[in-house]
């Protein structure tokens, strides 16, 4: 037992320091806790939802919260709680997929632009400038509009809009990291360009990317909800939080629970990711300055 403890202490990975730092950050912990709960809800949705999310029951239209339907029913008599529970996985998937595509693309292009410099850099960064010159949500709206309304097109549109900020941040960090002597040392050993970029530079620029990706999740979930609200995203009967808001709009006065609960779900999720992102930034940033010392 004692051996094991010393072993763990000796193999202090930088990541354990991140967890130790986060422990002191209460809001970030709350955020991480909520996200964990959301993930469980998303995975277990079929088992914990009291009703089928798309089953219509026109006899029970627009019921306020009651014992049978804890959060009431919508205009087609569907259980709002069940729809929210199933919508969790939709929203989380949107977040993960969009941020995943955007961050991978952005990080790779930023890495290449920063490391290679010259014409390649100019080309990539001018494309970034052009994309950033449009308001993001409007550009996404236009792309999703052209591609046609569907959840996948919305995700694609958000990824196309989203990768630019990752590319910018990564390029900036690469410019400073590539001047470090350990990069020169790698060149002196005969390491190839790919090895230098991905083994030496990339691990030293990930800290801001992790923070951006976490905050980006919140932004993407919100943007996807907004596009679904406008009818471009998830199509009925998919239980998506944004489109649920849209469906409930007409009944806001008579049955406010149709909009209040999906709104709360979006708010809680977005806040949770923001809390975690802020916490990660606090923990990673001081190390960021010292990371490549």
């Amino acid at each position: 037992m004692h051996d094991l403890v010393t072993k763990i202490i000796e193999s202090r990975l930088p990541s354990t320091e991140v967890f130790r730092g986060l422990r002191k950050h209460r809001l970030a912990l709350i955020g991480a806790g909520i996200i964990l709960v959301l993930i469980f809800i998303a995975i277990l949705a079929p088992f914990i939802a009291p009703h089928d999310p798309i089953e219509q029951n026109l006899e029970h239209r627009l019921l306020p919260p009651n014992a049978e339907y804890p959060l009431g029913t919508d205009n087609l008599g569907r259980c709002i709680l069940s729809r929210l529970i199933h919508g969790t996985s939709v929203s989380l998937q949107i977040g993960v997929i969009v941020v995943g595509i955007a961050a991978t693309t952005g990080v790779t292009l930023g890495l290449i632009a920063g490391y290679r410099g010259g014409l390649v850099d100019e080309l990539i960064m001018r494309i970034v400038d052009v994309l950033l010159a449009f308001p993001g949500i409007i550009l996404a709206l236009a792309i999703a509009g052209i591609l046609g309304p569907s959840l996948y097109n919305v995700m694609l549109a958000l990824a196309v809009v989203g990768w630019t900020s990752y590319a910018r941040v990564v390029r900036g960090s690469v410019l400073s990291v590539k001047e470090k002597e350990f990069v020169e040392a790698a060149r002196a050993l005969g390491a190839g360009e790919a090895r230098i970029m991905f083994r030496h530079i990339l691990p030293n620029v990930t800290a801001p990317v992790i923070v951006m990706a976490t905050l980006g999740m919140a932004h993407v979930i919100l943007a996807a909800a907004a596009l679904s609200f406008l009818g471009l995203g998830a199509q009925p009967p998919t239980p998506e939080w944004g489109s649920m808001l849209n469906d409930g709009r007409a009944f806001m006065r008579t049955a406010p629970h149709l909009t209040i609960f999906p709104g709360l779900a979006i708010m809680v999720t977005v806040l949770a990711f923001n809390f975690l992102g802020d916490g990660l930034r606090d923990v990673l940033d001081p190390r960021l300055k010292g990371a490549a010392r």
Binding site: E10, K180, F182, E184, A185, A188, L189, R195, R293
Partner: protein, 341 residues
């Protein structure tokens, strides 16, 4: 390609000019002559010290020899064991260069920025083995342990990250990495300048011990004359991208024949309370390498300058067989050196 017997590295007419660009169109408006026509050679197993002020081109010279910076002109002849012949590093292709990287390595000045903070010590030292496909897995691990012991660290340090070590220990890690591929030539780019004085001696002794053990040849770049005196067989003095004097260590320190060397030597502190220091304070600053003075680069600051010095650049030539200098009056001036212990 000719190279004397027993000589490992011979550099001839090495130049590195960096363009100075201005304006919207990045027009080239001038050149920084960081390394300007450098000639030197190092016999196998010896140490050549390279000294000079900050910004005189010492480090650029070292990096150009390794082709970490592409030379503008010149020959870098190297007796390669692996290729079994003398090659011109300045002209070899990409694949040959990668092979040559196994035979020439570099130790950096800053023990903090020269190690990747995201890699373990084992990965850092083992990387050259992976890159050149020399060893992997268990074999690599054993070699890394061997290297750690050779530089005075413990094998169990493999799993740790660089930030867990002190400056001197980090420098040892950097040395182990340079040794991993059994190189012949190591360029030491001010390897002790960033260290505590007490640690400097340890690292210097380590470098000397390793030289003997592995028959290494060093190009030792430094600005600390006492360090250079201690470790070098021969010393080259650099000023504004040119080598102004090159001789065996004792000869250079006791009988300098270039006025710049004399001025540098007069700045060496002497640990003797009765010694009356007669420092030669050079007038003015180091001129800009973008727009160097006419004739001899040193003439505006030289206490012995004569009219010819501002008109004609002196040639770097041999006086009495082993003592080289670039000064019009090298043989005539009687200059003061320092006493060797």
């Amino acid at each position: 390609m000719t190279i004397q017997d027993g000589v490992l590295l011979s550099v001839k007419g090495l130049k590195k000019y960096f363009p100075v660009r201005r304006g919207v169109f990045r027009r080239i408006v001038g050149w920084v002559k960081a390394v300007d026509d450098v000639d030197l050679f190092i016999p196998e197993g010896e140490t050549l010290g390279l000294v000079g002020e900050s910004g005189c081109g010492k480090s650029t010279c070292g990096r150009t020899i390794l082709r970490l910076i592409e030379p503008t002109a010149g020959e870098i002849l190297f007796r390669s064991q692996r290729l079994g012949q003398v090659v011109d590093i300045a002209k070899v292709g990409k694949n040959e260069l990668k092979l040559l990287r196994r035979e020439m390595q570099i130790i950096f000045q800053d023990p903090y920025s020269s190690l990747n903070p995201r890699m373990t010590v084992g990965d850092i030292i083992g990387e050259p083995l992976i890159v050149h496909q020399v060893a992997r897995g268990k074999e690599k691990e054993n070699r890394v342990k061997e290297l750690l012991e050779a530089v005075g660290l413990k094998p169990e340090h493999m799993q740790r990250y660089p930030h867990e070590f002190s400056g001197g220990q980090r420098q040892r890690i950097g040395i182990a990495r340079a040794l991993a591929l059994d190189p012949q030539l190591i360029i030491c780019d001010e390897p002790v300048s960033a260290l505590d004085v007490s640690i400097q001696a340890q690292v210097l002794n380590l470098l000397e011990g390793l030289q003997e053990e592995f028959h290494l040849t060093y190009l030792f770049i430094a600005h600390d004359l006492s360090v250079v005196k201690h470790i070098s067989d021969r010393v080259a003095v650099m000023y504004l991208g040119k080598i102004v004097e090159l001789a065996e260590t004792e000869e250079l320190f006791t009988h300098p024949i270039h006025p710049y060397t004399e001025a540098l030597l007069s700045a060496v502190p002497v640990p003797d309370p009765d010694y009356k220091s007669e420092r030669i304070i050079l007038q003015g600053d180091v001129p800009s390498p973008v727009n160097p003075p006419s004739g001899c680069y040193f003439h505006p600051r030289c206490p012995y300058a004569k009219p010819v010095c501002s008109e004609e650049p002196p040639t770097f030539q041999d006086y009495d067989g082993k003592h080289f200098a670039a000064c019009h009056f090298a043989g005539e001036l009687s200059l003061r050196g320092v006493k060797m212990k």
